[in-house]
Point group: C2
């Protein structure tokens, strides 16, 4: 049954695990395989052509594993090549940009929306284009926040300097009087409580991981692909980096011990090794 196949999800590193966690919470009957391209992390400041090549290597790998849907758990990869990926694969391909955009459209009352993300994501203008395609009257204010991913990956969310850095980067959104701020990077939910303190109660934060899991629900439902009788789903984790590193950090993010294996991508033949 295709509905019992796993969902495939990937990211340049650990960021997409926020999407995995939301899938586990919102769709607890779905099997899942996650690939973290930790060996080539970060994507956010690479040339788009390189991001594109890496992305299709990973998606080809996931397709060979037998998945029913692919979620690009990476805003950078989504910004660079979602439309092309949708044409390339027969199965549903979900990015993290449209779910966040739609949630922002539902949330905003003033029509003034802020977006934060990596340099590549912000430079691509993908959020503004998606938002204004639906409603040309929306005003969109974007800002790249390069240190935020680093803060999360190096586990410095609670460091004294973090609050100051976040304040410094987000001040501009107060001046622009946005009522909605899209966290346009799957790393940012781990920084959400700090961002919320800085932005205050009046600004709604859109967590793209949460919204992407919701849209996976919608798309799987629409296509009759929901797994409706799977009390014990499996979660497989694959990394292009070292198994130990992924197991240590990943288990912390997900909140339970992970089974991880390693894979080499970029070779003529991809080799998976149990770890």
């Amino acid at each position: 049954m295709p509905s019992q196949l796993p969902i495939g999800c990937f990211d340049s590193g650990f960021g997409g695990l926020t999407v995995v966690k939301e899938i586990m919470r919102q769709l607890p009957q779905e099997n899942l395989i996650y690939l973290g391209d930790n060996n080539r992390y970060p994507y956010g400041s690479r040339p788009p052509e390189e991001v594109r090549a890496f992305t299709f290597e990973i998606m080809d790998f996931l397709v060979r594993q037998g998945v029913k849907m692919i979620i690009m758990g990476c805003n950078t990869a989504t910004a660079v090549c979602l439309p092309e990926a949708r044409q390339r694969y027969k199965m549903p391909v979900l990015g993290v940009i449209t779910p966040g955009s739609r949630a922002a459209i539902t949330a905003t009352r003033s029509g003034r929306i802020g977006v934060i993300g990596t340099e590549v994501t912000i430079r691509s203008d993908a959020y503004a284009r998606e938002l204004q395609r639906i409603n040309p009257r929306l005003e969109v204010f974007s800002k790249a926040c390069p240190p935020f991913v680093h803060i999360v990956e190096t586990d410095e969310v609670e460091a004294p300097l973090t609050m100051e850095v976040v304040q410094d980067y987000l001040q501009v959104f107060h001046d622009q009087r946005v009522d909605t701020l899209i966290l346009g990077c799957t790393h940012y939910p781990l920084l959400q409580h700090v961002i919320a303190r800085v932005m205050g109660n009046q600004v709604q934060l859109i967590n793209s991981a949460e919204e992407t899991a919701r849209e996976a629900n919608t798309v799987l439902s629409e296509r009759g692909l929901l797994n409706e009788s799977n009390p014990a789903p499996y979660y497989h984790y694959v990394t292009t980096g070292t198994v130990d590193h992924f197991r240590t950090i990943g288990s912390k993010w997900i909140g339970q011990p992970l089974t991880v294996r390693r894979v080499d991508l970029g070779d003529s033949e991809s080799q998976a090794t149990a770890g």
Copy 2:
């Protein structure tokens, strides 16, 4: 171009206008035709077989008008015959139950969800089935609130008695410690501020009109049916009741003057009369 065709939406009366208002707000480039079956209002306490017959009469009428998607802006009709409607028509058919359910799944942290609606909606158990199909561990508490539709249709939201009635009906959800309450009737958003006062800050209210417009966005996007260049959309209103009545109440709900015509349904030949 099919993307320029209107969205069709209907309800037993004025309730579905909350969905229309959200479509206008979230998808301001979409044309729309709304049918209110005011002559046969209310549906909420009719036998399901009768609701089914009325629903297909209306949907056949909307299809003849040339629409690209039908939104069942009525929880009762959705609860009774959404699956059959999806098989009967080639175009996308959206109900108000699945969008509300998916939003509740995203919103809840405790897994304890309350649902309020008409007698038919609650007796159909459609929300509980939809919620538990996705996540069998969710606990769902449902209650029919028959007076709520009457309060809204007779414009008594601000009447002194209303607060007391709402409190009386909703007390049970405090006892059941729900953290999310689905407003499972398209009339209820007009009562939302009263319900919010009664339920307090700790309970998230799910407005099914708002969520249905968001899912219309997703489904139209997925199918390439979004209207992306329509700065001056039209909104056509049709009623089976009297034009004056619909124009008076409807204009108040929508917040602008409406152009309304009358149609007779249930005849061998449906006749539309300009009004």
